[in-house]
């Protein structure tokens, strides 16, 4: 090897870099998987995947899955599961339609009520799970049936719509063209670039701090490569979207939620405690952590986010149908597990869950463009989920 002549320091640095990469294979692996999948479909669809209109659609189509995946991550990290999110999503959409379309309630008020109602549903389920120790699988399986039925009842089996245009803006609106330049939408571009710069700035600050504390682990090369990819991807995507109709409102909502929940899970005591509960509930309890209350809150939060997803989905379709939300829970749960969360709890990241959701979303979208039948699509998605989890388990056992 020519390496041997290149001095011991670079050799050692390279070795430690490789070790770091191997130890954190999961984290980088999933990002690389998403990029590889996108590259594959970009190539296979002859460039359609990243056409501005399709990219915008991709974001719109997956926003509600991403939003629910963020909530589901907390639930799964705490060692539970929520099977009811699809039904709750559909039910809240139906509730919004009935309030806004049939009762003429102001859409802002209706939205707030719907979010509160979603949180209340989460509270009702979380109460039994946290304080009476009824397994979450069963409680939320019951919830799945109950709210599916209630949605059907609320809509009397009919579709209800259309919504007033102002409400539709939640899901199908775009960042306004403040500067009046037309295409590309400059404000969108500014927001996108700003977001990317902020992210890199935060990462650099964090790295400096780690360096000062001597807790730095990530090799410089990897750090640069990771954030260069993220920066370029963000800027490129916002440029693409800006050259269509601008950043969708939903994109902003989603980005804010991802940032907020990343912060909560990484930096706040409440996040730290939820990971501790999932890792070892008894030890957490004996450490003075109010485990019941946190599990309860994780479900309240999940209910609220399912409500938000319900609003967005209804607004996007511009109608509430009894079938809305059907099977969403499967996509959401799959996204979280593809993102590296553990069934046993205590492991998983918000970013991982989001990337997991986009892996599913890109595959849906790409396969549809390619004209792959719904039958094969399901098979392929199932196999990807299985492969991701096998990779995890294998990776963990290898030590």
């Amino acid at each position: 090897m020519s390496d041997t002549t290149a001095g011991t320091t670079t050799g050692a640095a390279r070795q430690s870099g490789m070790r770091f990469l191997r130890d954190n294979l999961r984290e980088y692996g999933i990002l690389i998987a998403l990029i590889a999948i996108m590259a594959f479909f970009q190539f296979a669809t002859g460039g359609i995947l990243l056409k501005p209109v399709n990219l915008t659609n991709l974001i719109l189509q997956n926003s509600y899955i991403v939003i629910m995946a963020v909530g589901m991550l907390l639930v799964i990290v705490a060692g539970h599961i929520d099977l009811s999110v699809g039904s709750v999503c559909g039910f809240i959409g139906a509730l919004a339609a009935v309030m806004i379309v049939q009762w003429n309630v102001n859409f802002v008020l209706a939205s707030i009520l719907c979010l509160a109602f979603g949180a209340a549903i989460g509270a009702a389920q979380g109460y039994w799970i946290a304080y009476h120790r009824i397994p979450s699988f069963i409680v939320t399986l019951a919830g799945m049936l109950v709210f599916k039925g209630l949605a059907l009842w609320l809509l009397a089996g009919q579709s209800v719509g259309p919504f007033p245009p102002t409400f539709q803006l939640i899901a199908s609106g775009f960042v306004p063209d403040l500067f009046g330049v037309g295409k590309p939408n400059v404000l969108s571009l500014v927001v996108g670039v700003g977001l990317a710069v902020l992210m890199v700035a935060l990462a650099v600050r964090n790295r400096r701090r780690q360096q000062a504390n001597g807790t730095l682990e990530e090799p410089f090369g990897l750090f640069v490569a990771k954030y260069a990819i993220i920066f370029v991807a963000l800027v490129y995507m916002s440029w693409l979207m800006a050259s269509f109709r601008g950043l969708p409102n939903v994109f902003i909502v989603m980005a804010l939620l991802i940032a907020l929940y990343s912060f909560v899970t990484n930096r706040m005591t409440i996040g730290r405690r939820i990971y501790a509960i999932g890792g070892n509930e008894k030890a957490a309890k004996l450490s003075g952590i109010r485990t019941e209350r946190l599990v309860f809150l994780a479900f309240v939060n999940m209910g609220m986010l399912a409500g938000l997803a319900g609003l967005i989905f209804a607004a996007r379709l511009n109608t509430a149908t009894p079938k809305a939300g059907l099977g969403f829970e499967l996509d959401v749960i799959a996204a979280v597990f593809i993102g590296g969360a553990s069934m046993a709890g205590g492991v998983g990241t918000v970013i991982g869950a989001v990337i997991g959701a986009f892996i599913m979303g890109v595959m849906n979208n790409g396969m549809s463009i390619l004209g792959v039948g719904i039958d094969y699509q399901q098979v392929i998605k199932g196999l990807v989920l299985l492969a991701a989890v096998i990779f995890d388990v294998y990776n963990k056992n290898r030590g």
């Binding site: 701090r209 504390n213 807790t215 682990e217 930096r267 706040m268 005591t269 409440i270 730290r272 405690r273 990971y275 501790a276 890792g279 070892n280 008894k282 030890a283 957490a284 309890k285 004996l286 450490s287 003075g288 952590i289 109010r290 205590g346 492991v347």
Partner: protein, 511 residues
């Protein structure tokens, strides 16, 4: 007598520890061979090597059984040869019957269909052999620990055992059950079954063993022939291997006013609700004092400690607790912590640590507020705290980013301790703080305990090792069957006095 088992030059290393170092063991056919040594001396590890729990290739050395070199790849492999191990924690399925348990995985079946008549007939014969008068259909959950132990032996007999290994079989049995078990071992010996008995109860070993092998710090120190009776002093000398005096750090206690007082504390068993697990217990603890709670396993000491610590054990808890004369509410863990209590559990893996998380995350867990502002964790502070405790109580690890699961037992114990030290309690309850950790780490834990007391903290140490309690405490309480049955200054205490307090209370109970 010919040799049935010969283990030669067995060496087994774990990351950071050499659990067995060139150990040889030779067992003669038809004898009861006792294996003794302190906790962490390597007894269980040696038996795990023998039974294939650590398969061939994971250790160095050679196993010769019945004249042939064996390389077991798992328990099933060694069981096929008739080597059967009965672990300290029994491996029975509680909701299955005795017969089902005995033939679990080895059913009397033809073409997958179980022949229940045959199963029950054979079970009845096996139960008669071990002297257990129960019906084969009885569910194991209805049996006491002593009887469950007999079921385990019956299960071993059903597999045509040739070498029976018992790991601390009497540790949770009362005296009459223990005696019955030992008699059974002798009877089995007369029928040609060889046994290896792991125990730390020397009086029991003296009753039954033909040969004793002493392990210390992973090496076989001596093998003693007991045909002429066992020289207990020699065994102890070999086990300890050093004067007892320097096993505990020297101390000069400064004891102040009463800090913690518990009056008439009672807790009922959470499942068997007619039984008091803690029965009208009162005790007091002074500033700078190290209090010892002595008693047999199941005496109710852990139950007492956990019921005090935020009602983490038991139901229908009654009684009063006072900290510096003021009555305190201990009804939840956060309240108990607020009152100044901390409880370092005996079961660090399942109750003490979030194993998959790092030292950095485990240490501040009981006091996250101290490293957070408005709910946001200050990561520098967190790192600094973890680093400080890692240095202060010498947690041996590559860094604070190492996951707790990868630490040795002693270092895991130190992480749990660090967690509670960081919570800065006034009253620290340590439950079996040195269980399963090696001699060196024990000394360090004792030193930490001494230093805490010297710094004005008040400590309660629960331990099943009487010498340890005699070595590190100022005053002792003795518990038995949920009640406090004795109290004495450690200076006046002896093992005999403690045992006699227990036995006297048993007598009082029978009247």
């Amino acid at each position: 007598m010919e040799t049935i088992l010969e283990m030669r030059g067995i060496t087994k290393a774990f990351p950071g520890v050499r659990a067995l170092d060139n150990v040889s063991l030779s067992v003669k056919r038809g004898e009861i061979h006792a294996l003794v040594g302190e906790n962490g001396a390597g007894k269980s590890t040696l038996m795990k090597v023998l039974s294939g729990v650590y398969p061939a290739g994971q250790y160095e050395g050679e196993i010769v059984f019945d004249g042939k070199v064996k390389a077991f790849s798992g328990i099933a492999d060694s069981e096929r040869e008739g080597i059967i191990i009965i672990h300290q924690e029994l491996a029975l399925v509680p909701l299955l019957s005795i017969a089902e348990n005995i033939f679990l995985g080895n059913e009397c079946a033809r073409g997958g269909i179980i022949d229940w008549d045959e199963t029950n007939r054979r079970t009845a014969a096996l139960l008669a052999r071990v002297g257990l008068k129960e019906r084969p259909e009885t569910k194991v959950t209805h049996l006491g620990v002593g009887k469950q132990q007999l079921v385990e032996i019956a299960k071993a007999l059903s597999k045509e055992v040739r070498l029976l290994i018992l790991d601390e079989p009497t540790s949770s049995l009362n005296e009459s059950d223990s005696d019955a078990l030992l008699e059974l071992l002798k009877e089995l010996r007369d029928h040609g079954i060889t046994s290896i008995l792991i125990s730390h109860k020397l009086n029991e070993i003296a009753k039954v063993a033909d040969t004793v092998t002493v392990l210390r710090d992973g090496t076989a120190v001596s093998t003693i022939d007991c045909a002429m009776g066992m020289d207990e002093d020699q065994v102890i000398r070999d086990m300890v291997g050093r004067p007892l005096a320097d096993r505990y750090p020297p101390r000069s206690p400064k004891i102040g006013a009463t800090v913690f007082e518990v009056r008439n504390w009672t807790a009922w068993h959470p499942i068997d609700r007619h039984r008091k697990a803690v029965d009208n217990v009162s005790f007091s603890l002074r500033e700078g004092e190290v209090l010892g709670f002595a008693g047999l396993m199941g005496a109710g000491r852990t139950e007492l400690a956990m019921s005090l610590f935020g009602r983490s054990y038991g139901v229908g808890i009654e009684g009063e607790a006072f900290v510096r004369g003021r009555k305190v509410d201990l009804s939840s863990v956060p309240r108990a912590i607020a009152a100044g209590l901390a409880y370092v559990t005996e079961d660090r893996k399942s109750l003490g640590l979030v194993l998959d998380q790092t030292i950095r995350n485990n240490v501040p867990l009981a006091n996250l507020e101290a490293i957070a502002k408005a709910g946001v964790v200050d990561r520098e502070k967190e790192g600094a705290v973890a680093e400080e405790y890692r240095r202060r109580i010498r947690i041996r690890s590559s860094s604070i980013e190492q996951a707790a699961v990868n630490l040795s037992g002693g270092n895991q114990q130190k992480v749990v301790l660090a967690k509670w030290l960081f919570a800065d309690p006034e009253i620290l309850i340590l439950d079996e703080p040195t269980r399963g950790i090696d001699v060196g780490a024990k000394f360090e834990i004792y030193t930490i305990i001494r230093d805490l007391a010297a710094a004005g903290k008040s400590l309660i140490v629960i331990s099943s090792e009487l010498p340890e309690l005699l070595g590190i405490t100022d005053r002792l309480y003795v518990m038995n069957r949920g009640r406090m049955v004795g109290e004495m200054p450690t200076a006046e205490a002896t093992q005999e006095k403690i045992m006699s307090a227990i036995i006297r209370s048993e007598g009082a109970r029978d009247v």
